[in-house]
């Protein structure tokens, strides 16, 4: 996994709450067996509307998504994270994320950072006024900066460390394989097996 320290880019103002993962990527696109090429499924239903914000030419090169509260609810599909990343997004900012989506993002290197809803509103207004506005999300300094807006971002300490180091979770866990083996010797004999 690539390490993430800070990212600067232009941002997409998505004025919607409760963006569920069925909207981020509809089920039809989940039949693929690879981890890449999901960018065409990103917000597929909404992108059929020419007026949808992501279809606007001045938002062509966005890499930061600024979304309403309760982003990523519903299905556990990690394809939602892959679709955002495949499209070119590096960061999602929201005042509230669904738990599974936030967990999936951290695994794959997409930064999901909490900011206060008032900051989201300020960013929406500023980006709509100037779509070329440079937004910096600084994981090291734990803040988002855009023109006169400087606000703290909230990211779990452990996730922050993993992202900054670019570490693979499985490798970390396998360093403790002895503890796993010891635990297994102590499991109750009545626990079921699928064999």
């Amino acid at each position: 996994m690539e390490s993430f320290v800070r990212h600067t880019g232009t941002a997409l103002p998505l004025r919607r709450s409760n963006v569920d993962t069925d909207q981020i990527i509809p089920a039809e696109y989940l039949k693929r067996i690879t981890r890449h090429g999901f960018e065409d499924g990103l917000f597929a239903a909404w992108r059929k509307d020419p007026g949808f914000v992501l279809n606007q030419p001045h938002h062509a090169d966005v890499s930061i998504l600024v979304a309403g509260p309760d982003f990523g609810t519903g299905s556990s599909r990690e394809h939602a994270v892959w679709a955002l990343q495949n499209y070119g997004f590096k960061v999602v900012l929201s005042s509230r994320f669904a738990d599974i989506f936030r967990g999936n993002s951290g695994k794959g290197g997409l930064l999901t950072a909490h900011v206060d809803q008032s900051v989201i509103e300020a960013l929406w207004t500023a980006i709509e006024a100037n779509p070329d506005l440079e937004v910096t999300v600084d994981l090291e300094e734990r803040e988002v900066r855009a023109d006169s807006i400087v606000a703290p971002i909230d990211v779990d300490d452990y996730v922050r460390w993993r992202l900054m180091e670019g570490l693979d979770d499985i490798g970390i866990t396998l360093a403790h394989v002895d503890a796993i083996s010891t635990f297994e010797t102590q499991r109750s004999s009545f626990m079921p097996t699928t064999a």
């Binding site: 039949k31 609810t73 299905s75 599974i100 109750s188 009545f190 079921p192 699928t194």
Partner: protein, 469 residues
């Protein structure tokens, strides 16, 4: 200080705890299906890793498969490739798999419990958010993403930060005609789609204790729709009676040891929850959704809300957007909403008791000519049981389609879909835009309401129907 049920199960699974790091939690049962696993198996292959515990892992085919003509190859080549990838991966890595055509095949959350694999006090995960279903047995069960699927395959553990706990207490007697589905829809409407974020919900109180295991599964299943990672219900005699004698349940002396342990899996009297919500069971009534998330629901006796009633600008916009998508106008009585499709099935309501509830309403009645009704059992075992009880004959005589087991119209991944603009009453769990097919409109309902709606052609409860002598 006492501990909650969730804390007891968590503590008994901690493999490693270190200050500043997530706990490493052991996973007792890992369920796998075709959609969220191919990239995980690929990851193992790339890094030369194996599945640590194939004997704690079980795969089944459910999301992509058709529910008719299952003896023929899957028509959609992309769906077929994904199912075939699961078969290849399970064979290569030694994971047991129940394929289409096997008597144990079905929706992953129906199969685990009916085999007796889901037991109190276990940790259960699956790359599917409705894994919360298994919490009905007092297991800590939650959905995970594909990276975590790979992690569990490789290590049989997950690094996790402890969840907070919330008690959802439902006291009193449910009125006649009010079911587990109505309870959970009312809970979600009360706390919202984000109300449970970061929490394990523990459902308790006399109304919950009075429910069957299948009703409890319906409740726990939809915990995720309130944003919660998991839902749990303390195991009791109802749980033990359901489990006893099932294929993978403990036998003889092991059974006695297990029950003795399971009886300790209750929230202590002096334990405290991080939050608590209380509902009066006697005040509940059949509940339906009108909008595009599961929190947008009301009693069937209500009317479509108006954006003007919203508390703030964000909610106003959300209601207006939902009504536009759903093609509804404010003030319209919910009972006047006409549907063209009724879907009975899914991991929420595809078990035998759900099918019995539908058959009870449909017996001697017919599905309205304007309505297409699909009845889809959650597993092959459920299908056989329904046929042994003659329920299939009631469905077919009423004009419904009786299908093979699978996820079917719950999500638009297989041939069972809504066409754009079509409107359904559905016993499934999500009314998101396009969930049942691009442009489709979904109203979430209980099996009883689904059956009554099929008869009248518009949203209705069994009590609305003219009685049959």
């Amino acid at each position: 200080m006492g501990r909650t049920l969730a804390e007891k199960v968590w503590e008994s699974h901690v493999v490693r705890r270190f200050e500043g790091e997530p706990d490493l939690l052991y996973i007792d049962l890992h369920l796998v299906h075709e959609v969220t696993s191919p990239q995980a198996f690929d990851g193992l292959r790339l890094s030369g890793r194996v599945v640590r515990r194939t004997d704690l892992t079980l795969a089944t085919e459910d999301h992509n498969i058709p529910t008719i003509n299952i003896d023929q190859p899957i028509a959609d080549p992309i769906s077929r490739a994904q199912v075939e990838a699961l078969r290849t991966n399970c064979a290569e890595f030694g994971v047991p798999l129940y394929s289409l055509g096997n008597i144990e095949q079905g929706i992953v959350h129906v199969v685990g419990p009916q085999l007796g694999l889901t037991q109190p006090g276990m940790t259960v995960v699956c790359g599917d958010s409705h894994t919360s279903t298994h919490g009905a047995f007092g297991a800590l069960a939650f959905g995970i993403g594909t990276s975590e699927v790979e992690h569990v395959l490789a290590t049989q553990t997950l690094p996790l930060k402890p969840f907070k706990t919330m008690a959802i207490t439902v006291e009193g007697d449910l009125p006649a005609g009010v079911t587990a589905k109505d309870v959970i829809l009312a809970v979600i409407a009360k706390i919202g789609t984000g109300g449970g974020q970061g929490y394990v919900l523990e459902y308790r109180g006399s109304a919950i204790e009075a429910l069957s295991i299948e009703g409890r599964m319906t409740i726990c299943n939809m915990s995720i729709e309130a944003g919660a990672r998991a839902g749990m219900i303390a195991p009791d005699d109802t749980t033990f009676e359901y489990l006893k004698g099932r294929d993978h349940a403990p036998k003889d002396a092991e059974w006695d040891a297990a029950v003795e342990y399971w009886r300790t899996l209750r929230t202590d009297d002096d334990a405290t929850f991080d939050a608590e919500v209380i509902l009066d069971a006697s005040a509940l009534s059949p509940f339906v959704t009108w909008g595009t998330n599961p929190g947008q629901g009301l009693p069937l006796s209500g009317s479509v809300p108006s954006p003007a009633d919203a508390a703030d600008e964000g909610e106003r916009a959300a209601i207006a957007h939902a009504l536009e998508y759903m093609g509804l106008t404010p003030g319209m009585p919910l009972r006047d909403i006409a549907v063209d499709t009724v879907f009975v099935g899914s991991c929420t309501n595809g078990r035998i008791e759900d099918l019995r509830a539908v058959a009870e309403v449909l017996k001697g009645r017919t599905v309205a000519s304007s309505v297409r009704m699909l009845v889809v059992p959650g597993s092959v075992r459920v299908r056989h049981q329904a046929q042994a009880e003659g329920l299939d004959e009631i469905f077919i005589a009423a004009g419904a389609e009786w299908r093979e087991a699978g996820c079917s119209m719950c999500l638009a991944m297989n041939p069972d879909k809504l066409a754009p603009g079509e409107r359904s009453a559905s016993t499934s769990n999500r009314n998101f835009e396009g969930r049942q097919g691009p442009g489709g409109r979904t109203h979430l309902v209980s099996p009883a309401v689904a059956a009554a709606t099929a008869v009248t052609g518009h949203l209705a409860a069994p009590s609305d129907l003219v009685s049959i002598a």
